[in-house]
Symmetry: C2
Subunit: 188 residues, 2 copies
């Protein structure tokens, strides 16, 4: 028997995406977004929802580009800081102790210290109430070498990603592997 | 220094959403979707991307409704099974040992055994390449009582959600709490 909790934005897991963008002066900015996810396999695309009042919003519409950076557990404080203040009030990269790197394929910066980044070209904007959903085509994924395994693939144990929990506004680490997809449920 | 991995749909975390829908005969069906996430706070909305060839696709467009069910670690095999076979070939609920419950607010079934469900009315369809993105307004969230704490809120340790890892196609459990959002990064 299920109990009603009301019409709420509660889901597990929600991501912690750090969205990188340039402003009109080409100053790098970043913000913290939990509303988003992959939205098409081909062209490889990701959706991120941002409120029009956010500084990042105009950056993305002007530059037609953004990056999605994935922080690791060791940098949870810096990732959280980015979601507390606004780029209108100063240089978030300097304040967070993070380094902006200019993407060579889209007009947006990414975060050197965060181990994984998706470089995205804006393809669609959908107004969905208080948030606008930006759909970006993923033109490249780049990873810090220390999170790759011997085959050059991402090692989740080295990446150490974490999730956002909308119900209690807490961050949780990703724990151990519990099985292989499209395999563990196979019936003989 | 980052290394290029190419234009791929790799992100952390990706969810394991079990999408519930009714077919033309009102037979309950479910499928496993990793491409999606919350997309607006108001109206509370969730996006889920589904290929047109999936049985669920026509169910949602006809019924204008779907549910998003969140499985727990204990039911990872059933959640995975749902993503391997098609509802065209038989009753997935019976085969997976799961129970379909008819939502009282949208024309779709949910899964009794999965501890959390979002009941959604279809609001938008966006064609994004090989996937169509369905945006549903969340009309209610329902939870099994055993995952609620003393205040009636979701206890993540009891919910035991898990994530999908697109890079290696593995499932990983959600581990311990590492901090409070909009707080741990606050500078004094």
């Amino acid at each position: 028997m299920k109990k009603s909790l009301g019409a709420k934005t509660i889901v597990y897991p929600a991501p912690v995406f750090i969205i990188g963008s340039y402003d009109t002066e080409r100053r790098p900015n970043m913000m913290n977004a939990a509303w988003g996810g992959i939205c098409s396999s081909e062209p490889p695309s990701i959706a991120v929802s941002i409120r029009p009042e956010r500084y990042t919003y105009a950056n993305i519409t002007r530059r037609q580009a953004f990056t999605v950076n994935i922080p690791s557990v060791a940098l949870v404080e810096a990732a959280d800081y980015v979601g507390i203040c606004s780029g209108r009030d100063g240089d978030k990269f300097a304040a967070a102790g993070l380094t902006a790197v200019s993407s060579d394929i889209v007009d947006a910066p990414y975060v050197a210290e965060f181990p994984l980044v998706l470089e995205c070209a804006l393809r669609h904007e959908f107004e969905l109430g208080v948030h606008t959903q930006f759909v970006g085509e993923i033109l490249d994924v780049k990873a810090n070498e220390e999170i790759l395994d011997g085959r050059g693939m991402i090692d989740v144990a080295k990446l150490q990603p974490f999730i956002f929990s909308p119900g209690d506004s807490l961050y949780y680490r990703v724990g151990e592997c519990i099985g292989r997809a499209f395999s563990i449920g196979r019936k003989e």
